[in-house]
Symmetry: C2
Subunit: 671 residues, 2 copies
């Protein structure tokens, strides 16, 4: 690469882009870890994007109608941090850049959502950003349809690397974006032909241009170091009705001795080589030094959008008061005032009618109450709409000619669905929920973890939550998936026992602003157990006494979901033998763990034998069986210790010994 | 669709194919659940494949050089069961077909590997079979290169549906197969344009033909109900150096009232409609009845390969005795006789030299000993070769012009890697292991679960196994992933504390014939703690006393991996204060759980305070902290209860309070 030619062709551009390269080199060298090469290779694309196209106002980074910029290749975090610092985002100080990858700094190894303004999503696990972006772009379409282009009209820009495109989830994202003609989604592919192990060719020879076109994208191919070509391509992309992929031929670690090699992917820290690269750049400045004229040119870019932002604010202020309130409410993730009353009314009705239905059906009953009063909900399913019960009567299907549709047919793409739902939640103004079978938590895992890490309230509707799904057999029967979600920090796992608890769980999930929820729901019908109406949301405390012991309390049964009914029947058997038995319903372990010790002890007093019942593995239960510091009770578990099998649900419960009789026997063996 | 025309065009073919359709309709109706439509749509393709091309011998289904047939669209299990029954696989009796989806039957809802011969892999979770098939085809290439085409020369055939192709993992598989020119891999795409929610177009408009071509596949397009076209396409596919995708235009639920609708995807049970379909088929037989001439035609197909098989056996018997033994050993999953001695020698050397290395490096040291004596091992990494330490000096890279290469650059495809490794293990003759970061267990999960369910010994080398990976931050730091793998039935999770335990863990993983292993390995250096050589493999018992208490035993510390060193230092602190402290190293909880109660009690006697130390979430530890039936000890845990952070590893251990001092303090607070 002829660096001198690049420098002289457009010195203004060169200096701006090189400020990114130099900051990157300095920060990675100071941290002695990180990824230098990607920011060095993509600095030109990013500079043109920010300078000429990206609609943003560094002084007001939360402006809802800003364009979104997503660094899917998250290891190149210094590209983003440099841009935020240079354009004048207040919290991205030079001190933060100096502390790249250090404890307490907002400049983490990979961009962490919530650490700094301008980080639109957490990236690093490859393929996630590009898949989030589909949700961002869908959210924009939906909100534009609802509020009009005066209030919502922005682009979603993504930088993706070879790693992002090799991860399977990217295919799910590409297919969705193509299917839905998400024309305001623009992806830059950092086509540098290098991965950690070597040339891309070591592992892949896919023609990415043809691949994207096969899914209905516009593809443009450019030299990623040519500012005019970059500008032209973005201009063309913005006009397209199709999503656009701009294949940017770039040189990783441009101008460094490691240019175009896999060494250039990682941390370039050799002082002599750094000096040589800066020499080639014509950058005679000290570490972390950006000359004033370059910094002020960047700051001008950072404030370029201020006028647009003010004009937008004026337009918002001209909207009806109701519209303004609506807009503010949904972006604040507030629920409507009448939600609580509606949920209570449903609970009361259920307590009276006492239907015997599957909790997936209960969930639909709740959504039929919720969706009409929360136009920000967007439902969907990974091709199991009829099984997940996620579409309500008022929801039409999102499509190219129905952008107001609030129901998404995600296709057989659990992972892409979860990632796109995260994108919707991050965009703001949308409360996404989506369904699949509980067992396919496995496919969606990488994005479910990121929802928890990012502290966003995505709702995962996971039906067919045990061997109770029956004949489909062990590939479709979750046994470890409750434990998996419960092991994940900042995740609420709800396994309601009936329609009342399902309504309570939904209310909590919708009120949540920072925690994703997993709703674990049955395929099979269960009795209504909460037959006495209480206004109070008992699920909020995670566990509560559903039926107390008569006579001396000798045993406590704990259960969730479909097994609460079994625990109640076991209680009948035990009480008939004079064994006083309490049943604790525990729809959410995490919320129970959050209660104060006094409450936890009141629900689970020391002394009585404890038996937990759940058609899943034991892991996660010992905490409640044994007491948090040990030594509280004799304890037992009735559940699964293997994979399931293919047979009718009733047979499976019998054969795997998850029955009221087995529970009663377990109690008696411990007494 | 003109059924009459199909019938009259080729009555022999029609009757054979219709036997599949009729058995499917009857079995699904009897079970009142299942998927009728796919077998009805793909019966013609399957009939031609089995009749004219598939190399198999129903009487000797384990013949190693048979062609492999993989039903990636596993919900269409009755297609496979019908074929196995009709061609005369001994265990697939009519009784089994009648008991479709019932307890104890080998005819589970989805094909379960191990239930019956001829089921080459467990499918149902979509995208898995097609991704396994890449491993099957690679294994065939590798073994053909090693043993010659006289002993190894077969095809891998796959039936995949729209669901398989929408799952992202299929893109990873397609990319790999194209990159490696796996010409003996032939995929039939059941192009019926229907998914559960409706037409495919609801969720996807990808041009699959172009998509496959973009990744280097040959694509043929045919009418999937035209036997001549099917035959021609397979013949052409077999000659290709590229993998071939045959796009088969089919009608789901052919000839039934639900044909070409999403209703046709599921269980067709209406008696009148069944009768009408059979009427249209010209199939005047009772339920489960196959006329003798049709059955015998199918049985002739089933024995068509007997001659080939015998010829192959002759060729094998003509090979050198050593070659025959080798071949038998690797297909029996036996380790070589000298493995144990080599491992012992390494352990002895390590106990003397006491290196301070990361356990990922320890793993490489073990593999340098193992790989030269086990030519059946195949290593690889998802683009982290230098970090996972999975390539040894004797391993060259598998490539189109080096089929003897035993190292695979899987690319940034953790899921595809795991699925393909499963395929290799299922094919036989290969012991696959592959690496990524522990955190990306998330991406590989669906296939890791299937390895456990199928009882195959795939080895997952998961490095950078805690906050100890440092600056990359929380997206790359596993905290819940040990719990996730431990929650999964039939999975051994090893977290060795030093090189000696790493060698022991590898020995167990390699000796395993039915259980996958997860090796959880550090990025950071750890001291050698097993400084006294023991021939015995102590890891085999899951947990053992690494250092016993001096004086009265007041505390037991349990730890794994990098935290054993911390526990040992805490023991020093406590002993210095006169508190007798035992340290239990617990490299594998599952193996410890398998020991008899006497051993478990000897290691963890009731009485002393117990504290566990692991830089991960607590879930999974309570069982050992509290005793399996409760009431054994006061207990505490030192580990993580949140996601990690970006900073140097040492800082993170300090800040998250995982230190010897914290452990000692925890013990004292409990005493």
């Amino acid at each position: 690469m002829d660096i001198a030619a690049l420098r002289s062709a457009n010195p203004d551009h060169w200096n701006k882009a090189t400020a990114i390269r130099a900051l990157t080199l300095d920060a990675v060298a100071a941290a002695n870890s990180g990824h230098s090469g990607m920011p060095m290779g993509m600095a030109d694309v990013a500079t043109v994007l920010f300078e000429k196209h990206l609609k943003f106002d560094a002084a007001n980074p939360d402006w809802p109608d800003r364009d979104r910029f997503i660094l899917s290749a998250g290891h190149g975090s210094m590209l983003l941090y440099s841009l935020l610092h240079l354009t004048g985002y207040q919290d991205m100080t030079l001190e933060q850049i100096r502390n790249f990858r250090q404890w307490g700094a907002i400049t983490a190894g990979h961009p962490e959502y919530g650490h700094a303004k301008g980080i639109e999503t957490t990236t690093g696990p490859l393929g996630q950003g590009i898949s989030n972006s589909v949700g961002f772009a869908m959210a924009e379409e939906m909100l534009r349809a609802r509020f009009g282009r005066k209030l919502v009209d922005h682009y979603t820009y993504v930088i993706a690397g070879d790693g992002c495109l090799m991860e399977g989830v990217s295919q799910e994202a590409i297919g969705l974006a193509g299917r839905h003609s998400l024309g305001k989604l623009i992806v830059f592919w950092d086509n540098n032909n290098i991965t950690i192990d070597g040339k891309v060719d070591l592992a892949d020879r896919t023609d990415q241009v043809k691949r994207f076109r096969a899914s209905g994208w516009q593809v443009l191919e450019i030299d990623g170091h040519d500012p005019a070509a970059i500008d032209e391509a973005i201009t063309a992309a913005k006009k397209s009705r199709k999503p656009t992929m701009i294949a940017c031929a770039t040189h990783i670690a441009l101008g460094h001795a490691a240019q175009d090699t896999s060494k250039g992917h990682g941390a370039l820290t050799d002082a002599g080589q750094l000096a040589a690269a800066k020499e080639a750049y014509g950058w005679p400045y000290g570490p972390f030094e950006v000359p004033a004229e370059v910094k002020s040119a960047w700051e001008a870019i950072g404030s370029r959008g201020a006028e647009d932002r003010k004009a937008w604010e004026t337009r918002l202020s001209e909207a009806s008061e109701r519209r303004q309130k609506d807009f503010a409410r949904i972006f604040a993730r507030d629920v409507p005032k009448n939600l609580s009353a509606r949920i209570k009314a449903l609970k009361k009705q259920i307590a009276e009618e006492q239907p015997k239905v599957a909790t997936r059906k209960s969930s639909e009953m709740v959504l039929e109450v919720v969706n009409p009063i929360m136009p920000e909900t967007v439902g969907g399913s990974a091709d199991l709409s009829g099984s997940n019960n996620t579409q309500t009567g008022d929801m039409t299907v999102f499509d190219v000619d129905n952008r107001k549709g609030r129901y998404v047919h995600w296709g057989i793409r659990e992972h892409g669905m979860a990632a796109a739902m995260n994108g919707m939640a991050l965009h703001g103004g949308i409360r996404p929920y989506g369904g699949t079978f509980m067992c396919f938590t496995d496919y969606a895992r990488p994005s479910m973890r990121l929802a928890a890490l990012m502290r966003i309230p995505t709702v995962f509707v996971m039906t067919h939550d045990s061997i109770g799904l029956g004949e489909d057999g062990p590939t479709h029967q979750p046994v470890e998936h409750l434990a998996i979600s419960r092991a994940t920090p900042n995740t609420c796992v709800f396994r309601p026992c009936d329609t009342v608890e399902t309504a309570e769980a939904w209310e909590i999930a919708l009120r949540s602003t920072e925690t994703p929820s997993v709703l674990s729901l049955t395929r099979q019908g269960v009795a209504t157990l909460r037959t006495e109406h209480r206004n109070k949301n008992l699920t909020e405390q995670g566990a509560y006494v559903l039926a107390d012991a008569e006579g001396k309390r000798q045993a406590i049964l704990m259960a969730t979901g479909s097994e609460v009914e079994i625990a109640m029947k076991a209680r009948d058997l035990l009480q008939a033998e004079g064994i006083g038995t309490r049943v604790v319903s525990m729809p959410c372990m995490e919320l129970f763990a959050d209660q104060d010790e006094a409450y936890r002890k009141r629900i689970l007093p020391a002394g009585p034998v404890r038996v937990a019942v759940e058609a899943a593995v034991r892991q996660g239960w010992d905490r409640w069986l044994c007491g948090e510091r040990g030594r509280e009770a004799k304890a037992g578990f009735v559940g699964m210790d293997s994979f399931g099998a293919s047979a009718p649900a009733g047979t499976l419960y019998e054969k795997f010994g998850i029955t009221a009789e087995a529970v009663a026997d377990k109690v008696k063996s411990l007494l």
